[in-house]
Every structure is written in structure tokens, then in C-alpha cells.
């Protein structure tokens, strides 16, 4: 698998997060640096869904890198995590 370009990761993740927010009835504007979990907009169930999606799509093993919710807490943070060098090599 080759590494996914960052703009593509950003648009994929944005679509994914917006979809989950809409499922909760949250149609408020979403900026790249908006807090998702610590603001209460997304919950721990969304976090694990997001983890599974990142594991599958970008080959990241959270057991190796350690789970830290702050690394999923905004679109920008997710893009940085999914686009890190170890990702995309699985």
C-alpha cells in the first residue's frame, strides 16, 4: 500500500467526521481545528469507530503507538496522525 496524500486524507476524514456529526443531529460548521471529543461533539463510540477506520485505511496500529484521544481531537490532528511516516505501510 502506498502512502495516501495528505489532502486526500483530509477530505476523507472530514467527510467521515461530518457524517458522524450529522448522525447525532449536529450540523454546525466544522473547521479543521475544531475540537471533536473534548468539546463533546463526538463521543467514545465515535472514537473507536474512528480508530477502526484509521487502522483499516491507513495501517496504523494503536497498540504500538499508544492511544491518545488528543491525537484524534480535530481534523488536523487526525490528518497528522494518519499521514505520519509509519502509516500507510501496512
Amino acid at each position: 500500500m502506498t502512502a495516501t496524500p495528505r489532502p486526500e486524507i483530509r477530505s476523507q476524514m472530514r467527510r467521515y467526521v461530518e457524517q458522524r456529526l450529522l448522525m447525532k443531529g449536529d450540523g454546525a460548521p466544522l473547521h479543521d481545528d475544531d475540537l471533536l471529543f473534548t468539546s463533546g461533539r463526538l463521543d467514545s463510540l465515535d472514537a473507536v469507530e474512528l480508530v477502526m477506520s484509521i487502522e483499516t485505511d491507513y495501517g496504523i496500529n494503536f497498540a504500538d503507538i499508544g492511544f491518545d484521544l488528543t491525537r484524534l481531537d480535530s481534523i488536523s490532528a487526525i490528518v497528522a496522525l494518519a499521514g505520519q511516516p509509519s502509516a500507510g505501510t501496512a
Binding site: G25, G27, T38, G40, R41, D43
Partner: protein, 492 residues
Amino acid sequence: MSIESQSYGYTATGALVKPSWRLIPQIDRDPNLVAGVQSTSGRLLLWCTVVLLTVLFWRIGVDFSAAALAVACAYVARYRRALILLATVLLLYRSGFLIDRSFLERVAIAEGVADRIHQPLLEAVMLVVVLALFAGVLALQSSARTAIRRPTLSLLLVFLALVALTQATVTAGMPRVLLWSFLMTSQPYLWFLAYGLADAVKSRSPVWQRLSVFHPFWGSSLTPFGKGLAYLERFEAKTPDELAVTQLKGVKLAAWTLVLAIAKICLGELVHGYLQLPLFDDNLLQYLAGHPLPRLVGWASLVSFFVEDLLGMTVFGGVIIATARLAGFRLLRNTWRPLEATTLAEFWNRYYFYYKELLVDHFFYPTFIRCFRGHRRLRMFFATFMAACVGNLLFHFIRDIHFVGEMGLWRAVVGEQSHAFYTFVLATSVGLSQMRRAPKPASRGWLRRRLLPCLWVSTFFCLIHVFDAPLDREHTLWQRAEFLSYLLGVTT
């Protein structure tokens, strides 16, 4: 388990839902008030409001005195951390650093060394030892070379190993007293240390700042309200505007909590005073003594216990979060509309947010990222089970660790049977509820989509309270099951 949102009031189309009338006005959304609170006269007015609320709370027996300290902390900017440390130490000193002194005195008498030790001196020395140890562990955890990979697991194993050691015959006498003294001094701060260790790798703050929020002055139980410093920093007001909004949110929450506290008192007066309905605990005891009260009375006391418990939890958490907000930390509420929950997972989340967060952070996520990675549904269920059953049980075992000293390890563990059953049923139900959670089709209508699920969830939690309250080690699982059978009309 899920961190249910508290912040949004949006419909699926994105339009903001505006309630037509509110008992507590949305003062934090008024631009004039937000600007006004930043001026000197505005600050003075805010202070007076907080003092008035403190007096009103005091009149009904609720302590809101830390709010004045909170406002002071919010305004000292550069010295905020130092003042938080001072305020925390002051309030901990007032409460004897949360050490169960009478238990330690009983242990010393039982071990026959009471005349050889000076209890206050031993407590002071042990407190210094524990704090120094915690500071050392936090410092070591900050370095990648010395960091422990599974800090919570290691911490719990060490603590439980020391508890087991108190039961060994070789520790009889003075060693046992010293061991219990160490355990009882560290126990109130154990979960704060767990958060501190988890934060250590991501927070560059000095150790003393991390220690300053171990049982912060705004209040806590053994569950950290506001988790650790890294979490708090994310919620800390960074600008005067943010501080003003956060403090107004604090005032708003305090006012609402006051209303609920008064409602709780009125309900208690009505139910137990005017209607003479016995407390749920008394009802259970009467049944076990062979003098059961009428079934209807049993149901009424169970429902009233459930409602009073919800109100009590809301007031308890509301006071703490309002105080933290007045100090400039815009924390999410602890209890938020639990009766509106349509799933079991959602109720648990809305009922005691910071406790649920503790279990999620220290049991759910660690299990989820390591176990059954190839099985989507099993992975989710097992992680939920580890948090809601194993974590829940461990938390309460540690919280009530004095039972080990009083009853012995075996009897204390066996005495957990009813609570173990409670956590097992809870975990299994929440796990299944979690797996089934999906957006409800709008076509099902308000009754089937909202009312019936809400009623089912409340009934479930009301019923399993039979196995959880009173949470002692005296009443067996069988006795509680018999009482439930009686309530359900299965037995007479």
C-alpha cells in the same frame, strides 16, 4: 459507553433549536453581560452573585464555599497555578487530607501498637512519603527512558499487592499498621495519579502543577472531576472573553443546581415526611427481617430512591463543575439530562460523566486497542465489559478498601458478590446496547422513538439498584434477588 455531547442544540438540518422559555436565562450568550463581567464593576458584581449563591447553598446544607476561591484563582492569571495549589492544599488540610483516621486508629488498636505510635505524626509523615513518591513516579514517567508502558495496570497491581500483603502473618503488628497507613493515605489520590501518569508523556508542566490538581479545590470524589492537568489545560479559558463566558456558565450552572437542590429537599419532605414512605434501605432491611412492607410501598420507595439519587448526583456534580468553571475551566457537566437517555449506554454516560470517563480512559480504550483486533463486534463488547464490569468492580473494591481491614480479604471479596452481579448485568446490557446503537428512523414517532426507550432505560436502572444499594458487604446476592422477586410478585 459514550461521551454524550452536551454542547449542541442543533437539529439534523443544522438549525439551532431555541427553547421558548428558560428558568435560568442564558447569561453566557449575552454579549453585553460577557463584556460587562470583564470590567472591574462587573467582576465585583460576579463576586457578589457568587457570595449570594454560597449563602443560599449554605442555607440548604450544600457547601459552595470553594467558589469564592475559584473566582480569586480566575483573576490572578500568571499565578493561577500557584493559587490552585494553595487552595487545594487548604481545602485538603480542612478535610484531613481525606485520610480515614478512625480506621487507622482501629487498626493500631487491633494490632496492639496504639500506645507506641503518635497517630497525627504518623499521618503527617506518611503524607510526605506518599507525596514524595507520587512526585518521583510522575517525574520518572515524564522521561521516555523510564516511563512505564501500562501505568494504570502497574499502579493497580502494586496497590492490590500491598493490600494482599496486609493479610500476611509476617506483617502483623507495626508493619501492618504502617502498610495500612500508606494505603489509606494514597487511596484517595490513586485515580488522580493514574491520570497524572497517563498525562506525563504529553504534558510538559512541572510535577507540582500536576500534583496541584490531585483532588482539586473545586471538589471531587475518588473520581477526578476534570481528569488530569492535560485535560484541564484544554478547557482552561485563554482570553478574557473566554474567561467571562466560562464564569457566566459557572453562575448559570450554580443557579440551576440550587433549584435542583431545593427540589430534592422538597421531594424528600413530600415523600418521606408527608407521605411517610420509608427509605429504600429500610424497606430492604424490613423484608430481610421477615416483616415486608406492602409491595406497592416497596415499589414507591425504589422509584423515589432512584429519583432522589439522580437529583443528588446532579447537585453533587453541579456544585463541583460550577466551581471549576468559576475558576476558569470550562468543564463539561457531570450529570446531564439522564432521563432523556434512550439507550443504556447513553444513560450511564449522562448519569455520571467523569466516572464513566475514568472507566473509558483506563479500561475501555486500553482493552479496545489491544484485544480482539480482528473481530469488530467482539472487540467493542469485550472493551465495554472490561470497563463496565471489571473496572467498575475494581474501582469500588479500592474505594471501599477499609472492608479488607475490617472483614479480611476473603470476606471483603465475597461480600462484593451482589455488586459483581450488578456490574455484570450492567456491563452485558451496556455492551449489547452499544452494539445495537444506531440512528433511529424518524418515522417511528415520538412515542416509540423517544418515550418508550426512555422509560425502558429508566426502569432498567431503577431495578438493578436493588443489587447496588445500599452498597455494603452484609446483604448477599441471594437476599437481594429474593427482595426483587418479592417486588415483582414472584414470591410472597
